[in-house]
Every structure is written in structure tokens, then in C-alpha cells.
Amino acid sequence: MAQIGEISRQLNISVDTLRYYEKIGLLPPVYRKPSGIRVYGRKDISRIKFIKRSQSMGFSLDEIKKLLRFREAPQNAKPEVRQLAGTKLQEIERHLDDLKILQAEFRLLINLCTDDDENCPILDAMDEGSTNQKDN
């Protein structure tokens, strides 16, 4: 259990955004102390992390709202929500494939530069590229 300020720091989300998520129904009403201070439970934190991850994948808040309902009760999901989840899964898989290629590419480039920083082939290639661009 944690208060809004702590959640904000932990998850790097502003306090206003946390309140907004609750206001638009992305989060169910968060438990409040008698003093009115919001206290977030594990389930709330899990939902906020899901929202954050989905947003970083470019999903809209409306899509996230539907996916959150699906997350709560996958067995009761309507066909269109199942379809949305399927489409999003495909997007994630494509994104993962791209990330894996990028990871391998950076790993290789770093290896090529590790041994000899003074004669780094990547920097050489970049220099050549910029020279060619100037020439053209």
C-alpha cells in the first residue's frame, strides 16, 4: 500500500496523471484514508504499470480502457475486445522483432568499437557518409 506521492515517484508518473486515470475510469476509485488521502494497493499499481506499458506501445487511452476490462475478466470479453487484444498482440510481436534486430545491431556495433576506440569503424563509416553527403 502506498500513497499517491510515493506511487508517482516509484512509477515516474505525475500525481495529476494518476488522479486523471481515476477520473476517466482507467483506475477504479482508489481507497482513501479518512483524511481523504489516496492509498494505492497492489492491484492498482499493477493496473498503472499496465497503462504505462500500453501507452509506451502507442495504445490510446480508449484502447487501454477496453484492454483493462479484458485483463480483469478475459473469459467474459466481448468478441471485439478479444479482436482488439489479438491485434495489439500482433503489434507487440512486430515491435519485439524490431527491438531484437536493433539489439543485435547495437551489440555488434559496440563490439566493433570496443577494442580500438581511436579507429572505430562505425565512426569512420559515419565520417565517410557525411563527407559523401557534402560532396553530393
Binding site: 543485435a104 551489440r107 555488434l108 563490439n111 566493433l112 562505425i122 569512420d124 563509416a125
Partner: protein, 91 residues
């Protein structure tokens, strides 16, 4: 006519081990049978996508028939053994 064994040496522009590997590879090819082997050098930065697809992590690397066979420089003995073995396998 049997297909040639396709060898590619993936090199870097500033890679002393690539120079050694190139000489070693050419010597082994000449020794075994240059008429049955096609040899090509690829600058890694010229075809980075291909290198990544193969799983190359450093240079020099050697492919045989489009498959990464050596991801680090092999000894003369290992290289000779691998090429002889590949040539012996019927396609």
C-alpha cells in the same frame, strides 16, 4: 556439375585479425581445391543487416553456404577440417 562451396569472410575496416584470417582462408582454399570453392569478402558495415541476420557479433566471421560457421577466428587446423568436411558432404 556440383555446386561450389560458398565461403564468405565478414571483415571490418580496422581489424588486424581480419587480415590474418583472409591470408589463412586463402591458403586453405588454395590447398584444398579452389575450383570447388567460391570466396567472397564482405565489409560488415556495407551489409550490416546481413551480418545481424547471421548472428555475427564481431569480425572476422566466416560463413559457409550462407550459415555462420565461425564467429571468431578458427585455427588453421579447424578451418581446414571444416572445409574438407563440407566438401565431402553430398548436396
Amino acid at each position: 556439375m556440383t555446386e561450389k562451396l560458398k565461403i564468405e569472410l565478414i571483415t571490418g575496416t580496422t581489424c588486424p585479425a581480419c587480415v590474418t584470417m583472409k591470408a589463412r582462408l586463402k591458403a586453405v582454399i588454395d590447398e584444398i581445391d579452389p575450383t570447388r570453392i567460391s570466396y567472397q569478402e564482405i565489409d560488415i558495415l556495407e551489409d550490416l543487416d546481413y551480418a545481424v541476420k547471421l548472428g555475427v557479433l564481431s569480425t572476422p566471421a566466416i560463413t559457409i553456404n550462407g550459415r555462420l560457421a565461425f564467429s571468431s577466428p578458427p585455427s588453421l587446423k579447424r578451418l581446414r577440417h571444416e572445409l574438407q568436411q563440407q566438401l565431402a558432404v553430398p548436396k
